[in-house]
Each structure stands twice: as C-alpha cells, then as structure tokens.
C-alpha cells in the first residue's frame, strides 16, 4: 500500500513523487487533496493531488521540503512506502466553461494550480497561466503547465528567467493588454494570494484561491484548519480548500499558519542533529 513508484527532484528542495493509491487515483477531482502520515510517529499533513494515473493506480504529489515531515518525505526512494494516505478530501474545484481563465501558481503553488488548469482546459476554457518563482532554478512544472495552457507566462523575482517581477506584475500586464478575463485562480504563498486577489479585485475579476492551513483529521472533526472567509469561520478541509479570494482574511491565515513555528523548528533541529549523527556513522 502507498508504495512510491518513482521519485524526481524538480528543483532544490522540491520533490515529485508518484505513489500507488488506486482508489484515490480513480476518484480524485481537480482541487482535492490527501492527508498523509509518513510513519507510526508521524503527523498528518495535507498535500494537493497534482495529477493521477487511474490505469497505473497512482497519484502524483509534489512536496517542498520545509519541515521534518516534508524533509523525511524527500528522503524516501522508489519502492519505499508511506504509512497512511487518506483521500480524496475537500471539495473539488467548480469546473465549467467560464471563457478565459488565468491560472496563477507562485513557487510551490504551481503544483496545486496545475490540475485546475488542466481541468479548466478540458472544459473548453481558454487557459492563460502565469507561473512564478524566486529564480530560474526554482521554477517547476513549466512543461506540464505549457501542455494545459493556451499561453504560459513565466516570471522570476530576480529576473533570471521570463518576466522580471512577481506573478502580480505578470497579471497586471495581461490586464494592460486589454485581455478579457473571466476568472482568476491563484495558488501560492499567502502574500502572493493576498496581493493577486487585491489586484484582481481592483479590476473586478472573480478570484479563487486554494488554502493550505494546519489540519489534523481532514474530515471536519477538529476544526484546526478554520479560516475567516467573509467574516465567517470556515473549515478548509470540508468547506474548502478553495474560497473566494476576495473574502479570505489572509492576515489571520498567516498568523494561524505560524501556530507551531517554535515546535516545528525544534523538531527540525533534532532531525538535523540525527542526520549528522547518522551520516557520521555511515562513514
């Protein structure tokens, strides 16, 4: 169960896994996620289902190494297994032919925006995608995005590739071109979603964002993932993960994401120390 079929590194700190999960591969829809627990002592973390191959019975997960669990996932190799995978969870993206949809992925956010872009394209939309990264080396999934987009715009913060600037600058230039945009889908770090939504709002563009909050069970039972949307508390796991980008309280979300920073750091420190110790023994 949950065996890793293949593993690639897309960039420094970003891992691409194909994992055996036949039922989820068959059932999942764009926008949904899984919760995984790497081993018996692991915590449960949510990850977007980037893609699936029902024939092979596999799902694709893309992971950025930021903490103990994600670094440990990065250490797994083809043939290893993940202890638990539950899904598909969350509401699927509302897909229809809106007309022109701009799909924006910032950093690791390209991974979750990819299945939505693919489904939007499939539904007959004209899909214009913007993907951004800090620099060219960290840019991921460019070829994947090209395949599901009528047009792909790339941007880097340092100008090492594509437009020199943020994804918001790229969106601004599309707006300046006089392009008629029917829907914006933006996924990435919270500030990126916040500023993309602000820009979209200024131009009266409906915007969907997908949120990644702290979760435990993922079925609505614990409420740890709650966010304020339009002044009301919503549970990302069952009410989301997608919400109206103009209604989300991003500052509260940023704050709530920091709930365990000190303990996450502590876990990382121990993890690094163990790694050093183990590498020492290997030699």
């Amino acid at each position: 169960m949950n065996r890793i079929i293949s593993k690639d590194r897309l960039a420094e700190g970003i891992v691409d896994l194909r994992v055996e999960a036949p039922v989820i591969a068959r059932k999942r829809k764009a926008g949904q996620f899984i919760l995984l627990r790497i081993d018996e002592t692991g915590e449960r973390i949510p990850l977007t289902i980037v893609d699936s191959n029902p024939e092979e019975g596999s799902i694709r997960l893309i992971i950025q190494e930021v903490g103990k669990t994600t670094y440990s996932l990065g250490e797994l190799e083809a043939g290893d297994s993940i202890k638990d995978i539950a899904g598909p969870l969350g509401k699927a993206t509302h897909i229809e032919n809106f007309g022109t949809v701009v799909c924006i992925g910032g950093g690791i956010g390209v991974a979750p925006v990819y299945p939505i872009a693919a489904a939007m394209k499939e539904a007959g939309n004209r899909v214009i995608s913007i993907i951004g990264a800090r620099n060219h080396d960290l840019m991921i999934m460019e070829e994947d995005m090209k395949k599901v987009s009528d047009r792909l715009v790339v941007a880097t913060d340092d100008g090492s590739y594509g437009i020199h600037g943020f994804v918001t600058d790229a969106l601004q230039s599309l707006i300046d071109e006089g392009l008629k945009i029917d829907l914006v889908v933006a996924i990435g770090p919270v500030p990126m979603m916040k500023f993309t939504s602000l820009l979209a709002k200024k131009n009266n563009l409906p915007t969907i964002v997908s949120l990644n909050s702290v979760m435990v069970d993922g079925t609505g039972m614990c409420g740890g993932c709650r966010v304020s949307v339009g002044g009301k508390s919503k549970f990302v796991c069952v009410d989301g993960p997608e919400f109206d980008g103009h209604e989300v309280d991003y500052d509260e979300l940023t704050m709530r994401q920091s709930a365990y920073h000190d303990m996450e750091k502590e876990a990382m420190d121990i993890y690094h120390k163990c790694k050093i110790g183990r590498d020492g023994e290997d030699k």
Binding site: K27, D217, V238, E252
Partner: protein, 484 residues
C-alpha cells in the same frame, strides 16, 4: 441449587433471621491525585480477584433483575457476577461477551450510575453493586490471561456488510453481524480504529492498548478493517452497494463539526476545539512530542469551556500536558453539569479550578495573534429553559479578565456533513443528523442503517453501542431476507 430438596421451615422454633453483615461497596485503588495529574497512566488500578469476589458477593441475584434492562446492550449482569462470586472467571467472561464485545471499554467509560447501577436493588438501602467495576475486572482478567476466547461463528451466509466508522456503534454492529456469519468490512476515516475511544477519550481514562485489544477481538471474529477510507469521498454509499458488492451498510460516522462560541478572538492561536485538543494528544500522541511529530501548544494557563465529560477530559489533559493552572469555565452551576460525577470529582481532586456561572465573552490576543487572556461575565440562574435546566443570565457589569494562553472549547458537535452531502437521498433532520428509525436504525435508504452520534447527536459510548446492537438485529433480518 435446584437439585437440593426444599427445606421445610421449622415452625416450632421462633427464629430470627440473623442479619447478614453488610459488606460495603468495594473501592478501586487509584493513583494519588497530585501524582496522576502529571502522567498519562490510568487513574484507577482495578479490582484484585479477591476484591472482585467480595464485591460480587454483594449481588443478591434478583429473580427479575432490573439491571439488565438498565443496560443498553442487555448484558446478563447477575449471570456474570454470579460466576465471579463463585470464582468461575472464564465463564463470567463468556457470559459478558455474549452481549458485549467491548467490556473493558464499557467497564471504564459507561455511566453505570445512570444505567444498571441506578436500578440495582441493593442500592435502595446501601450503595449499589459496583457492576461497572466488575465488568472492567472480568474483561481485564481475561485479557491478562493472554488468550481471549473466540465464540463460535455461524457458517458464512454469503452476505456482505459495510460499516462506516470503527467507533463504538460500528464495532458493535461489526461484531454482532460477524458472529452471525456475515462478511463484514469496516471503513474507518482515520488511520486507527476505535473512533472516539481512540481520538477522544484520554489514555488516563481509557488506555489505548485496551481499545486495540478489544478491536482485535472484533477482528478475530472475522471482521476486516480498511483505514484512511473516508466514506462519501473514497467510496460513496451507492458505490459500496453497487460496485463493491455490499448488501447492507451501517453508518456510525460519529461526531461531526465542533461548535465554537462565535465570540471575538476564537481564531487566535491557542484556541482549540476539544476535538482537536484531544485528537492531537490522544490519537497523535502530541503529549510525547518530539518523539511523535504532532505538536500541541505548551500551555501554562488553560481555560476549558463546557461542563460535560469532554470538558473534564480536556481539562485533565491540559494538566498532564504541563499546565500550571487549568480553569473549567461553565455558564451554569455544578448541579447542571452534564459530566459524570466521577469525572467531576477526579477533575476537582487533581486541582482543576472550577469557574461556575461564568461565560466567556471575548478572547484577547497579543501582537502575534496568540491568546493572552479571556474576558468572562458572571451569570445567575433564571427560569428553566427548553432543556428543563435553569437558564443562565448574565449579570450586568460583572465582566472580568482571566489570564490564559490556551482556550479549549468543549461545547459539543454538530453533524458531519460529508456523507449526507455525497448522498442527497439520505434524509437528515434540520441539524444535519441522519434520520433513522428508533428501533432498527433504518435510514431513508433501503438496506442502509445508522446509529450513534451521527443520528442522536453527541451521546455516550454505550448508547452508540445500544444503537448498534438493535441495528444489527434489524440488519440481520434484512440480510437474511435477501436472495443472494
């Protein structure tokens, strides 16, 4: 004794029946309050064989025992107590298992004082027989012997049953139907079985090894478990019936979305639902961080809101996680508290600071969005409300602030929307609870039954098991009426 000839009373002698010395209800030894408040080990140690036999001898073996009717799953209580009294422990365990697959759990978490023990005839003049403690004793004894007796399983009926949720209701249905020869598969959303027994009730009240052992018993009856399977998402009910070949389904998906108070500051860091707080600590073992990866805030001053068993569990967990001060904030008075007396008593002994007739009105945060205090208002009791309890009314101008870094909200749960959302033909009431017939648990869909918290809202483990028990009877009849 039926074989012995009846003694003919000797009427020539004026006899005075010697008064039997009254044996007091036997106590269970417990960990000292101030020691146990800092560890997660179980609070009571349980009876020794000797104590259990003494306690069992207090039962007067009523001809028409009321206790059996007081038990939602109808255990033959005098039957198993007689065997304990006579030292036939194996037989006692067998009698109990006939009606209850989870006795070590029930012996610990059932509110016996409102079920079997409240109707105990001994209890009229003395304290009732400690039925719960005896149940716990015999279950623990059998487990400690290392060999659990598996009852005879009926030959396979060829009927397949799916159970949604491996909590008390689902486990009961699974065990009952497996014994009758049906092929049972339990789909559990989490990565471990037990439902609330695993994620909700803390280790110090219900050790998880005991839950696992009793689940293992159900497994040995032939029940298969599938984890990480959120029904409604992983499979829909229709798919289970039409594609996966199940003939009937029991839904025991349990408690749903936790209620919050809708007061300002509830999304600050440090505000938890009791479900989250307990799940982190129990299921994910956050109390053993960093050996386990799941974190939980290292609180110093904790306020728990609510007056039920879950509130008591949360407050006592907070102490064990290292809090110096734990307040239990409840808007009514002590007599209205829904928690069991024993739980309230344990919490008080361990030093929980009860703030009764007090209602939170605001949670205040610091510049990093972390809880720093809670503003409360004092309450007084007015006229009775719809629940029959006197309605708490705020006393104007009585607001005060208490310094806390964590707030745990334990005021109940609404229904989980996942399954009804995925199954529009499954009828629910206005609160989202699944509509099911009282006697049978039958829902609005043919062959689909439901019971436990998803039907009645938050209740007790044993009520969920009772619902499972009656549903399993109806399901068996339904299954056997099918041509397979």
């Amino acid at each position: 004794m039926a074989d012995e000839p009846k003694k003919i009373p000797d009427v020539t002698k004026k006899t005075v029946k010697p008064k039997k010395p009254k044996i007091p209800r036997q106590k269970m030894p417990e960990q000292e309050p101030l020691i146990r408040a800092h560890n997660f080990e179980e609070v009571p140690y349980g009876y020794s064989i000797e104590t259990a036999m003494i306690e069992a001898s207090r039962c007067i073996m009523c001809k028409k025992p009321k206790c059996i009717h007081g038990c939602p799953v109808g255990i033959d209580i005098p039957g198993f107590i007689r065997e304990i009294r006579d030292g036939n422990l194996k037989k006692a365990a067998r009698i109990m298992k006939q009606s209850n697959a989870l006795p070590a759990i029930c012996g610990r978490v059932c509110p016996q004082e409102e079920q079997c023990e409240i109707v105990c005839v001994v209890g009229i003049k003395q304290e009732p027989v400690a039925i719960g403690r005896l149940e716990r004793f015999i279950a623990d004894w059998e487990r400690d012997q290392g060999e659990i007796e598996i009852p005879e399983i009926a030959p396979s009926t060829g009927r397949k049953v799916a159970i949604v949720g491996a909590g008390p209701a689902g486990l009961t249905v699974a065990g009952e139907l497996a014994k009758l020869g049906h092929q049972v598969t339990v789909f559990e959303a989490l990565h471990k079985p037990g439902g609330v027994l695993m994620y909700g009730i803390p280790e110090f009240r219900l050790p998880k090894a005991i839950v696992e052992a009793e689940v293992d018993y159900v497994r040995q009856l032939g029940v298969e478990f599938v984890y990480n399977a959120v029904i409604g998402k992983y499979f829909t009910l229709d798919e289970l019936m039409e594609e996966e070949g199940f003939h009937s389904i029991f839904i025991g998906s349990g408690a749903g979305l936790p209620y919050f108070m809708n007061i300002p500051g509830e999304n600050l860091i440090g505000v938890y639902s009791a479900n989250e707080y307990l799940t982190r600590s129990n299921l994910m073992k956050a109390y053993d961080f960093p050996n386990y990866d799941t974190p939980i805030i290292r609180s110093k001053k904790v306020a728990v809101i609510g007056g039920g068993n879950v509130a008591m569990d949360s407050a006592r967990t907070a102490l064990r996680l290292g809090a110096d001060d734990v307040y239990l904030v409840y808007r009514r008075s002590r007599v209205e508290m829904p928690a069991r007396d024993e739980e309230i008593h344990h919490a008080e002994e361990e030093g929980i600071d009860f703030r009764l007739l007090t209602n939170p009105i605001k949670i205040n945060g610091d510049e990093n969005g972390r809880v720093k205090s809670m503003t409360c208002i004092k309450m007084e009791l007015g006229e009775p409300d719809a629940s029959g309890r006197r309605r708490p009314v705020p006393i104007e101008g009585s607001e005060y602030e208490v310094e806390v870094d964590t707030v745990v909200v334990a005021i109940g749960n609404g229904a989980n929307p996942l399954l009804p959302e995925a199954t529009p033909e499954l009828k629910t009431n206005k609160w989202g609870n699944i509509l099911a017939e009282d006697e049978t648990g039958l829902t609005s869909m043919k062959g689909i039954y439901a019971g436990g918290d998803i039907v009645i809202g938050a209740a007790t483990v044993i009520l969920a098991m009772g619902a499972g028990k009656s549903a399993s009877k109806a399901m068996n009849e339904y299954l056997m009426s099918l041509d397979v």
